[in-house]
């Protein structure tokens, strides 16, 4: 494997070492230089293997790259050390989720038999076991090929079902029975997209008219889809694709371009709480879509993270005009999603595209820029450690959405 090494690396790596300049005199001189003077023992030979995979830890972050910009692959980083734990192969435009056992990884992905041509194959690939190896694939009827979006694929909270958003030829969700390893149903959701699971087998989707589609299931496993009221104005201030939801409680925080948070308790009959403004929580005027209004707004590739136990919403914020919802955040705002108060504003060392927070007692906050991952203390904003990464597309934590 040939790499173009960077200068810093090259300087340490000059010249021939295959030469065996070994002789009694030389070796003796080397030994004499050792503290203690005794010749060190001859190193023992090794057997090559695979480092066992211990399961996703509470502080591990799993992320994939931004397709087109970088190669595929699902990468695991230990937040406690900022070191890479493992990498699992994936196609471009893949999505992924961990089973509740924290050991089984599902990857929703698409291949063509000849790279960009030939026969298309949409599959849910299964990885697990002590070496995180491939354990087979479940054929899917289709998938949406798009830039990475968190909510194109999700599991039910108990891990029994997978939900995969498909778009071709019509918007639908493939419900995958993960125990039986087959697609159990294909549920059409006309005019809607994405999937937010709730309860045992239900899911909701966002609709182009500002409503939700709710799919509930009867005892026979038949899905029925109905629409809620319109709860946001898609024309002037749509809800972001990358809104957060908690699969365990069913709470979704649908957040708009202008920073309005619409809390919705997902259920067969969803309950809509009153929306509140991130900007107002910070003592600012609410953001609007008026041309020229430069103010703080949420933005990025994955601009939100949620910590259900403490009701904390983390938002990547930048100063910009309306419709700048993909601009990366220069700050992370920490908000109390119950009291609608701003708790903290943390600087990030470099504008960040993704934010994530672990779901444990002593959580870590992750901010990901184009090339760097920073591990932060969510309570103090301190940067604890950092590592270089490939340009990120999606991120998942243990027990998170």
């Amino acid at each position: 494997m040939k790499r173009i090494a960077h200068e810093a690396v090259k300087s340490a790596a000059r010249i021939a070492a295959l030469s065996m300049v070994i002789g009694g005199g030389l070796a003796a001189a080397a030994w004499a230089a050792q503290p203690g003077g005794a010749p060190p023992p001859v190193l023992q030979s090794e057997t090559a293997g695979v480092t066992p995979f211990q399961g996703l830890t509470a502080h591990d972050l799993t992320y994939s790259g931004l397709d087109g910009v970088t190669t595929g692959g699902v990468r695991i980083i230990d937040g406690d050390t900022a070191r890479t734990v493992a990498t699992v192969f994936s196609s471009q435009y893949a999505n992924f989720a961990w089973a509740p056992d924290h050991r089984t990884l599902y990857i929703s992905e698409t291949y063509w038999t000849l790279g960009n041509r030939g026969t298309r194959e949409d599959v849910l690939s299964i990885y697990g076991g002590p070496t995180l190896s491939n354990e087979g694939e479940i054929a899917l009827p289709g998938r949406l090929i798009s830039d990475p979006k968190t909510h194109t694929f999700a599991l039910s909270a108990d891990g029994r079902y997978g939900y995969d958003y498909s778009f071709q030829p019509a918007p639908a969700v493939s419900v995958i029975d993960l125990r039986a390893r087959k697609v159990a149903a294909s549920v059409e959701i006309p005019g809607c997209g994405l999937v937010f699971p709730f309860g045992k087998r239900g899911f909701a989707s966002l609709c182009a008219d500002g409503s939700l589609a709710v799919a509930d299931v009867n005892a026979q496993g038949k899905y029925a889809v109905h629409r809620t009221k319109r709860f946001f104005d898609v024309m002037t201030d749509p809800v972001m694709d990358e809104s957060v939801s908690d699969p365990h409680s069913g709470l979704a925080l649908f957040t708009t371009y202008d920073g309005w948070v619409h809390p919705v308790h997902l259920a067969d009959t969803p309950r809509f709480d009153k929306p509140w403004s991130i900007e107002k929580a910070a003592g600012l005027s609410p953001a609007t879509s008026h041309v020229g209004q430069i103010t703080w707004r949420p933005g990025g590739q994955v601009p939100f993270a949620y910590e259900p136990s403490r009701h904390r919403l983390f938002a990547l914020m930048h100063e910009g005009p309306p419709w700048s919802f993909e601009k990366p955040g220069s700050e992370i705002w920490v908000l109390d999603a119950r009291s609608h108060r701003l708790l903290h504003r943390w600087d990030v060392p470099e504008s960040a595209y993704l934010v994530a927070v672990t779901q444990d007692e002593h959580p870590l906050l992750f901010a990901l820029s184009e090339e760097w991952l920073w591990v932060m203390d969510p309570d103090t904003g301190a940067v604890l450690r950092a590592t270089k990464i490939v340009t990120p597309g999606l991120a998942r934590v243990r027990g998170g959405q």
Binding site: A12, L18, A48, V50, T51
Partner: protein, 181 residues
């Protein structure tokens, strides 16, 4: 999937042969086995001995003089004298262990590196871990005494994933085989 019917046998054989047989015949047979090609009569150890003659009287090499033995995530770790690729030690593995999600190839190319602690030369098997997308961490390029591709047993440009389920390159290990003396 076309693949060679080789397995960990390759590595075990390396070690066994290195210990028991005369260097020339052992490594000649090993080379043939590793790349499953009939006619590669000469191997890195022979090359190294030839180079040795040219450098007689010099202590070590530029690489071994600057090498260290405590940090296997740095390019100047002593075993990496001939490595070319992402260090598995930075990818969730080690010098002799693949990260989860990838598989060790039973084939490799062979180098020998001087350990600064004892000034001995050890045989190192540079084995690729295959199957996962490229790791992209700790990319090192130590090409000393690396040979052209028409001498595959000492070439680091070949994707050494023969015998695994996948030719997707992930990272490279530097497995200690034994003394090269």
């Amino acid at each position: 999937m076309k693949r060679l019917d080789v397995d960990k046998f390759g590595e075990r054989l390396t070690r066994r042969l290195a210990g028991r047989l005369s260097r020339r015949s052992a490594l000649a047979r090993l080379g043939a086995l590793l790349v499953a090609a009939p006619a590669f009569p000469l191997l890195p150890v022979q090359r190294a001995r030839a180079a040795d003659a040219a450098t007689a009287g010099q202590k070590g090499t530029d690489f071994s003089r600057a090498a260290q033995t405590h940090d296997d995530t740095a390019c100047n770790y002593w075993r990496y004298c001939g490595i070319d690729g992402n260090l598995c030690s930075c990818c969730g593995g080690s010098t002799h262990s693949c990260p989860p999600g990838s598989q060790p190839s039973p084939t490799s190319w062979i180098g020998s590196c001087i350990n600064p602690d004892d000034q001995r030369a050890y045989l190192i098997a540079y084995r690729d871990c295959c199957g996962a997308n490229e790791c992209n961490k700790c990319s090192c390029l130590n090409t000393d005494h690396a040979m052209p591709i028409y001498r595959p047993q000492a070439n680091n440009h070949i994707i050494w994933c023969f015998g695994t389920q996948s030719f997707e390159y992930h990272c490279s290990m530097a497995v200690l085989v034994g003394l090269a003396e």
